[in-house]
Structure formats: structure tokens, C-alpha cells
């Protein structure tokens, strides 16, 4: 859900990136933009100005998600480090209500003290399909994710792997298999040793008992 300027420098191993919930994609050096949110970009600017002028609590961060041209296309309101969490939460809720009134999508993450505001509902499944189409990949896709927003992408992949950590909602992950966060390096190592062929026989891989899809 981060923007390209955040992801790309941190992932020197990658060939393609989908950022801001699929609103922007980069394949090699080519940037591909989604045309799904054009009519809502003015409302993002309005709501961002509203958030800046109505949040006065110390420690509340408004993180802008910018496209490759420097336009703010989404933002996050984060009160994890607020000095007074109660007041901060109240102010953040006012911003959320204003954003919803403008028809924007407010994405919450379980009980986490932050939310994202998007011009359209981000769909990681659609983002994954768009990227595979750009890469001309039709098969052999393994997807790793750790939140409910990854469920559409789990369904769009051939093998889906949920990463389990203290904050992941394990029961709501609609993936084939599970792996604990601390064991992800071991899993990747095993994958390389096995010539990049996945097998559920890897010792760190567990079948997801809550899997819903057939």
C-alpha cells in the first residue's frame, strides 16, 4: 500500500512493483498508471487539506502517498505516536467521516491506530492481475501476504502463502498455506535450493486450516 518512492529503494531484488494499492505500477523502468481514480483526485486534495487543518494533536502523522509525478493520490492518518491517543483518535475519526462524505475509501486495519484514505477501493487481486498481464506471466505465481487486504491477491495466484506474525489476522487469511514470519528466510532459502519449485513438504510450511476457496 506504500508508494513507489518508498518501495523501490528497499527492494533491490525486484523487477516489477505495484504501489498504492495498485494505483501505480512499475515494470523495469516503465511506469504504468491506473486510470480508475482520475475523477476523485480533487477530493483527495480537499480531504488532505481538511486533515491538515483539523488535526492539531501532537504526534499524529499524515503520510502522503505520491505517484511518480509527485501528485498525492492517497494518504494515511497515523496516531500511533500521539501524546494523547484519545484526542488524536477523535480528530482522526472526524477526518475519516469527512473523507467518507466525499465518497473516498477509508481503509482500516483491524484495531490498528491508523487508516488509509484512497480515491477508489484498492484491490490487490486486480493489481496482481494487471502486473502479470504486463509481465506476460500466466502461471506459476506464488503470492505472500499478511493481511485481509491480500485475500483477492491470494485468490488470483496459483500458490498463496500467508505470513503469520503477532498482528496478522490468521483466521481471516484466505490462503493455501501459512508460514511464520521468523521462518520466511528459511522458506526462501529452501525455495532457492529446490530450484524455485514450491512444495508443501517444506518443514516450515503449514496447510491453512481456515482456507475458504476450493
Amino acid at each position: 500500500m506504500k508508494d513507489l518512492s518508498f518501495i523501490v529503494p528497499r527492494t533491490p531484488f525486484a523487477q516489477a512493483w505495484s504501489a498504492i494499492g495498485g494505483l501505480e505500477m512499475r515494470v523495469g523502468r516503465r511506469v504504468v498508471k491506473s486510470d480508475r481514480f482520475g475523477h476523485m483526485s480533487a477530493n483527495i486534495s480537499l480531504s488532505l487539506n481538511y486533515a491538515r487543518s483539523h488535526i492539531s494533536s501532537a504526534g499524529v502523522e499524515i503520510e502522503e502517498k505520491q505517484d511518480s509525478e509527485g501528485r498525492t493520490v492517497a494518504f494515511c492518518v497515523d496516531w500511533r505516536l500521539a501524546k494523547d491517543p484519545q484526542v488524536a483518535k477523535h480528530e482522526a475519526e472526524c477526518v475519516a467521516t469527512y473523507c467518507k462524505g466525499l465518497g473516498l475509501n477509508v481503509i482500516r486495519y483491524e484495531t490498528q491506530p491508523f487508516f488509509d484514505v484512497y480515491p477508489v477501493a484498492p484491490d490487490k487481486g486486480e493489481a496482481l492481475r494487471d502486473m502479470l498481464s504486463e509481465l506476460a506471466v500466466t502461471n506459476g505465481v506464488l503470492y505472500l501476504g499478511d493481511s485481509r487486504t491480500d485475500n483477492p491477491a491470494f485468490r488470483a495466484s496459483n500458490i498463496s502463502l500467508g505470513v503469520v506474525h503477532d498482528e496478522s489476522p490468521v483466521r481471516s487469511l484466505d490462503c493455501d498455506y501459512l508460514v511464520r514470519f521468523e521462518l520466511v528466510p528459511d522458506f526462501l532459502h529452501a525455495l532457492v535450493l529446490n530450484d524455485l519449485k514450491f512444495t508443501p513438504d517444506f518443514p516450515m510450511i503449514k496447510i491453512n486450516p481456515n482456507r475458504r476457496r476450493e
Binding site: F13, P185, L188, H189, V192, L196
Partner: protein
């Protein structure tokens, strides 16, 4: 601290995945002629014993009967027989590489020249 070290290790392992993918891509790019794309449904039209041989050539690239038999675990003579059957059926082509006969996937170019194949 544990999280930080795990993330560092994940980064290292993902770099290894990238290097492996680069190797695979380099091998495939070196295949000449380029292999023909075969759909899964077409593959299932082959009997099991021939499909196993075909998939071995598909994953390894141009290879001899001995190399296929090392991977499949079946004897060389049998693999040689299956490989030649696949050549007659138009799924593979063969070429002589000094004393060794190498089998490889049929390419689009070959299909254009010999449309009766496959």
C-alpha cells in the same frame, strides 16, 4: 531485534531468488530456436510415459537420451525410444552434436517450414 535480523535475512534470500531467476532467464534466452508454447490441455493429449519425457526436455532444454534417463530414472534405451516417438509425432526435433544426438522442443520456425507437424 529479531524482526530486524529476519528482515535482513529475507532481503538476502530474495536477492538469491533474483540471481536464480536471472540464471534461468539467461538459459532460456540462449535457446535457439525458441521453443513453441504448448498449452496444458495439449500436453494432456500425450500419454503419461511420453509426457514425462517431453516435460524433462521442456525443463532442461536441448538434451541427450542419457541426460533424460538420468532425470527420469528410466533406462537410456527406453528414453531414446520415447524421444524418437516424440520426434515422429512432431513434438520434438533432434540434431547431431558431434557423437551425441540432442533432442529439443520444436520451434515456431520449424512449424512454419513443416506445417504438417503437430
Amino acid at each position: 531485534m529479531v524482526r530486524r535480523s529476519a528482515l535482513d535475512r529475507i532481503l538476502q534470500e530474495l536477492l538469491q531468488v533474483r540471481y536464480r531467476l536471472d540464471d534461468i532467464e539467461a538459459v532460456i534466452a540462449g535457446w535457439n530456436p525458441r521453443p513453441l508454447e504448448i498449452s496444458e490441455s495439449e500436453l494432456f493429449s500425450l500419454p503419461d510415459h511420453l509426457r514425462k519425457t517431453y516435460l524433462t526436455v521442456m525443463s532442461k532444454g536441448a538434451c541427450s537420451a542419457k541426460e533424460v534417463s538420468n532425470i527420469s530414472g528410466r533406462c537410456r534405451a527406453m528414453e531414446s525410444n520415447y524421444l524418437n516417438q516424440l520426434v515422429r509425432m512432431g513434438w520434438l526435433t533432434k540434431r547431431r552434436d558431434s557423437k551425441t544426438i540432442r533432442f529439443c522442443l520444436i520451434s515456431k520456425d520449424v512449424l512454419k517450414e513443416h506445417p504438417q507437424q503437430k
